[in-house]
């Protein structure tokens, strides 16, 4: 598969029954493309963490995924409150998730670290009051079927 595939998702805020549906759909699509299983796993976790962050922290947002010949790009953009201190937010264990969200199992403060760890390229830009954009790149091996 050499042609480029583009997926667009609109992520609703505060809907925990639907949260993760975009990542699940993305994973289903990836499974049909001949991408190796370990890369599928990493890419889908990256998408899920980003999706959940937009649901919990930003009242939703938009996701665009470009599956190319040599890489997958995941671009997540929201108009939420933004992140005042990105370095702090990137630390394992740092969270501002409220108690009701934590009781659902979120709020380990591991989402952003996971996205960085499981992607090959990670870039986050955020402005308080404006929103947050996360770009992740996952490299694909050459000579895929």
């Amino acid at each position: 598969m050499t042609e480029q595939l583009v997926l667009n998702y609109s992520i609703a805020g505060d809907d925990f029954t639907k949260a993760g549906e975009a990542a699940a759909d993305f994973k289903t699509v990836l499974k049909k493309t001949g991408v190796p299983p370990d890369i599928i796993r990493r890419a889908a976790i990256c998408m899920y963490e980003g999706e959940i962050n937009m649901v919990i922290h930003a009242d939703g947002g938009d996701a665009e995924i470009i599956i190319g010949a040599d890489k997958i790009e995941i671009i997540l953009a929201d108009r939420g409150p933004g992140i005042p201190d990105i370095e702090l937010a990137m630390q394992e264990g740092y969270t501002t998730a409220p108690e009701n969200i934590r009781s659902l199992g979120f709020g380990a403060g591991m989402g952003l670290p996971n996205m960085k760890r499981y992607s090959d390229g990670f870039d986050i830009k955020s402005a308080p009051g404006v929103g947050t954009t996360v770009k992740m790149t996952i490299m694909l091996p050459k000579n895929r079927e």
Binding site: G20, A23, A24, E49, G105, G107, N114, R117
Partner: protein, 108 residues
């Protein structure tokens, strides 16, 4: 040992049989979802006391072989429904996570 054999050996309560033929590679215990996605390995049996729908999503993404709800925790209706839909093997036990892990260590 596969999920079905392990469930029988540990006398687990079956909430959803799901993909029972998968091999159990190891075991991970945890309730914080992002931590599970960080540390659990593909094929692990995941022990948790978190009974909500997000557990199914994380089980699918982290590709654990099955989920065991410890300490007699029962799954929410939404979790059960999602596990059926996504073919996630979901079990329960009255044992604690520690006791379960000790038993698993004996059989796998």
């Amino acid at each position: 040992m596969n999920v079905k054999q392990l469930a029988e050996a540990l006398k687990l309560k079956t909430y959803n049989a799901g993909a029972q033929d998968r091999e159990v590679a190891g075991c991970y215990i945890g309730d914080l979802l992002s931590r599970v996605m960080s540390r659990a390995d593909r094929g692990d049996l995941w022990i948790t006391i978190m009974p909500n729908i997000n557990v199914a999503a994380v089980a699918v993404l982290s590709e654990v072989s099955c989920v065991v709800l410890a300490e007699d925790v029962t799954p929410d209706a939404e979790l059960l429904e999602k596990c059926v839909k996504e073919n996630v093997a979901l079990y329960g036990s009255v044992l604690s996570a520690y006791a379960l892990a000790c038993e698993i260590n004996k059989v796998i």
